[in-house]
Symmetry: none
């Protein structure tokens, strides 16, 4: 069975040429196309396409918002953003809204077709530089500090449990050591991390483990 594709794109010429590309390729069929987010939201659920190609820059509501509202209705449908925007803001917002692929409009037709195939097969096609930007968002992750490194294995284990809110005696039980030992480990952890309380230690610990995507839009 061919892959059913819907197109959301306001430029009529681009829309038509995309439709032609898809309908003209075996294994693909274009089931609908839409020139606005409103139309897409109203019509696409009826067609239940496998894949949606979505422009970001639409008149009225934008494509990202459109994806956000469409996706819950069609969880099985994969959305590929197809746009000229390369800035991280747009990329991350689109992915967070539920898009699974992100291709630039300059993508040559054969690659676009294989992107459609790929997203349908469970992948996440992205143009090269887009992928790189996404990967980089993981790299500003807090480098495990020298401080944290210096924790002994046992100490790290204690800190892990500390972070989960266990009491000293609960930690002692779980680690099968005495309360006194836990106490000693914790004193050493505090010294090494230069903190004076459990909470500071945990904050430091979580701050390392849970790097934040620096783009994360503030509420």
């Amino acid at each position: 069975m061919s892959i059913a594709v819907s197109i959301v794109e306001d430029d009529a010429r681009v829309r038509a040429s995309l439709a032609r590309l898809i309908d003209g390729s075996s294994g693909y069929r274009c089931v609908s196309n839409h020139s606005s987010a409103e139309d897409a939201l109203r019509e696409i659920p009826k067609f239940r396409p496998d894949v949606v190609l979505m422009d970001i820059n639409l008149p009225g509501a934008n494509g990202v918002e459109c994806v956000r509202q469409l996706k819950p209705q069609l969880p099985g449908t994969q959305v590929i953003m197809l746009t000229v925007y390369q800035n991280t803001e747009h990329i991350f917002n689109a992915l967070a809204a539920g898009a699974t692929g992100y291709m630039l409009k300059q993508t040559p037709p054969p690659e676009l077709l294989s992107a459609i195939k790929e997203v349908h097969a469970g992948g996440s096609p992205m143009s090269g530089h887009i992928a790189r930007k996404i990967v980089q968002s993981f790299q500003h992750a807090a480098p495990v500090s020298a401080e944290a490194q210096s924790l002994s294995p046992r100490e790290a284990e204690v800190l892990e449990l500390l972070a989960k809110g266990f009491l000293y005696k609960e930690i002692a039980e779980q680690m099968k050591v005495s309360y006194a030992t836990v106490h000693t480990h914790i004193r050493h952890i505090y010294e090494k991390l230069h903190v004076r309380s459990r909470t500071e230690a945990v904050a430091k610990h979580l701050g390392q483990k849970q790097p934040r995507h620096e783009f994360a839009p503030r509420i």
Copy 2:
């Protein structure tokens, strides 16, 4: 100029066949190969390859650690993890450590070659399902829990300070209220969040702000 590739892989047969693949393809050359992280760390900087193919499962130190130490020395070198591990833990750690690509070992040779080319061209090649997992990490948009929502403004303020490790009395000073008030706020916070200690509350709080590995940008 062909792309210079180094290989880090403990299995001699796999290593040899990768080297053969690379050296046998025009546009690529294998400049070195290494069977351990230690060897790789010592030798690779001398070769300054364009791309490193790195196994995760190495004897002694693991590949992720190896990338973490190698990358600062060779910022221009792109590392592709080449592994059997598909779990998010490994993927995210590898990317955070500085890898720019993540391919499964089952990848067919032609795709591996184009992955090398892609990473060298500024992209981030990833096996389909890997890419999807990465994208999904953006999608579990932290549905700011009802619990956290129910905190009153003042309580949220206290929690914020609590998370920074301040003592009750320090919080009292900063908020210009009495110790007793802070105490009351905190009791309410605990009730609402269903926790029994400062640390649990903070963990919950940080867990929302900086969601775990399935990190999610908040919208």
